[in-house]
């Protein structure tokens, strides 16, 4: 097995004395969409926080293109090309849409590149273009998620980490977010996606991992997971007997 584009090797994370991740290993190849599924408390968000450098692992490692990430600060991880649209979106609510996007491009030195990406994001999410001067906190849920993704894309990432992008959204805006994620991936951005809406995530993903209480319990191609009866009953809301 050669080195993956992004690889988590036996990753352990502890909060105080409580270990939240008990040795998680994941591999993401360049250009993929990989989904992480699991119930609340499975450690999905913790995994994302560890990759983006917000929390330091207690053991194991994270490697990007062969380089260790787990020794870096979060702002250095962003500079390497990995950005996170976090759970709950974490927008700067009292700043405008445009100011939020400009902060997303904080590490980008090339102003022309930033303008190109911004135009692309406005093409992807025309609603944001209409609301550039509006305060981020006054946007609808769907628009806020668009902005959170747009802001993360403004850093010109090679890998986009998306933590629960459809959380709290009505079905139609959620569907449009998933369509946008697929489009973003088509433009060459590798995507690691954490989702509670397992069916929608697996439909756009090439592969998926299933986590339970801090461990990966299953990994497979997305279509195989969609067809798996255990997965269907646990995460896709279909009982085994029906």
């Amino acid at each position: 097995m050669g080195a993956a584009f992004l690889e988590l090797r036996d990753l352990r994370v502890s909060y105080g004395r409580v270990e939240a991740l008990h040795g998680v290993s994941l591999r993401i190849e360049q250009g993929e969409i990989v989904a992480i599924l699991g119930a609340n408390g499975a450690g999905k968000t913790t995994t994302m926080a560890a990759v983006s450098g917000l929390i330091k692992p207690a053991g194991g490692g994270i490697f990007f293109d062969g380089r260790p990430l787990h020794t870096l600060h979060s702002h250095e991880v962003v500079r390497l090309g990995i950005t996170l649209a976090p759970e709950g979106r974490r927008l700067f609510g009292t700043l405008t849409v445009l100011e939020n996007m400009e902060l997303g491009a904080f590490t980008l030195k090339d102003k022309r590149r930033a303008a190109t990406i911004r135009d692309w994001i406005f093409e992807l999410f025309p609603r944001l273009a209409e609301r550039v001067e509006q305060l981020a906190g006054t946007l609808s849920g769907g628009e806020q998620q668009m902005l959170a993704i747009g802001r993360a894309l403004m850093g010109d990432p090679k890998v986009l980490l998306l933590d629960e992008p459809s959380l709290g959204l009505a079905p139609i805006p959620a569907r449009s977010i998933f369509a946008s994620v697929r489009e973003i991936n088509r433009q060459g951005v590798t995507v690691l996606l954490v989702e509670q809406n397992a069916r929608a995530a697996l439909k756009i993903a090439s592969r998926g991992y299933v986590m339970e209480v801090g461990k990966v319990v299953m990994e497979d191609r997305a279509d195989a997971l969609l067809a798996n009866t255990d997965i269907q009953s646990a995460y896709l809301g279909r009982s085994k007997t029906s």
Binding site: L54, H75, R90, L95, E102, L103, A152
Partner: protein, 301 residues
């Protein structure tokens, strides 16, 4: 009428100094939810360093008085900014993740350290700023003579505040400061080095305080090792008056407090000057706890 105009301009000049100091309190609070009690003492340090620099470079009389005053302010700002930076690295950063009360105790300790260090270095008696550095002439406005120094101080303080406002709202680093004040975690995800931004705030705030210190020395002609206590308390009141964590609030609060205090001293009694200032604080805390501009709670800078 003349008395009113005199008191009003005096209040605005002193209030501008309060505002300058208040910015240091409010920026640090906006970022760390910490009240930097040592800030008033850094202001005092600025005043004393101005005096030392004046003697060390024998500046007096060498050039134009305005240039001397400007040079003293700039040099003192630079040195005190450095002290502010070290203060954060030594006394606050190691406690960043501990209980907030712990950092407050550390801030109180730092305040005592600085005021005693200044007292030991310069003596407990007040020191005299040489008069006549800045022109002592007065300018007539509508037949009222206003000391030029008062006008210069007001303009100087306002210019520094406008520069800060421009920096915070119009530059890339300024928006990073605003982002860190709103949400440190999200700011990290933007690739912002939060520690550097906090260091920067501890350079800017004490630097502005030092400018206020030199201005007070030039204006009143006398400084004391413990003057940071009363000026610090007033500036802190100004910061709360405007809404702590809010930069325009600190500016407004400072000017307002200066004017209220000056008018109170003139028309009620000079002995009640401080009591009037703190009565304003109590009334604000009762009727508008978020301060005048503090209604946008999430918008901390």
């Amino acid at each position: 009428m003349e008395e009113l105009f005199q008191q009003l301009t005096n209040g605005l000049a002193v209030g501008a100094i309060y505002a300058l100091i208040a910015l240091g309190y409010t920026m640090v609070y906006g970022m760390l939810r910490l009240i930097n009690f040592a800030h008033g003492d850094l202001f005092t340090l600025g005043a004393y360093l101005g005096l030392t620099l004046l003697a060390a470079f024998a500046l007096e009389g060498k050039m134009n008085g305005l240039a001397v005053g400007g040079a003293l302010i700039v040099m003192s700002m630079g040195l005190v900014a450095l002290v502010g930076y070290l203060l954060e690295r030594i006394a606050y950063r190691p406690l960043r993740n501990s209980n907030r009360l712990t950092a407050v105790v550390s801030a109180l300790g730092a305040s005592i350290f600085f005021s005693n260090a200044i007292m030991l270095a310069y003596g407990a008696r007040s020191q005299v700023y040489p008069g006549g550095i800045l022109p002592t002439t007065a300018i007539a406005f509508f037949g009222v003579e206003i000391p030029l120094m008062r006008i210069l101080m007001f303009i100087g303080a306002i210019a520094l505040m406008l520069a800060l406002y421009w920096f915070i709202h119009r530059t890339r680093i300024g928006s990073a400061i605003r982002a860190v004040a709103i949400d440190q975690g999200a700011a990290k995800l933007m690739g912002i080095n939060v520690n550097s931004v906090i260091s920067l705030v501890f350079l800017i705030g004490p630097g502005l305080g030092a400018a206020g210190g030199v201005m007070v020395g030039l204006y009143y002609g006398e400084i004391r090792y413990d003057m940071g206590f009363s000026f610090g308390l007033k500036a802190f009141t100004a910061a709360i008056l405007g809404g702590i964590g809010n930069i325009p609030g600190a500016m407004l609060g400072g000017l307002l407090l200066g004017v209220i205090e000056a008018l109170g001293a003139a028309y009620i009694s000079i002995a009640w000057k401080d009591a009037i200032a703190f009565t304003v604080l109590i009334l604000i805390l009762i009727f508008r706890p978020t301060g005048l501009l503090g209604e946008r709670v999430a918008d901390k800078l």
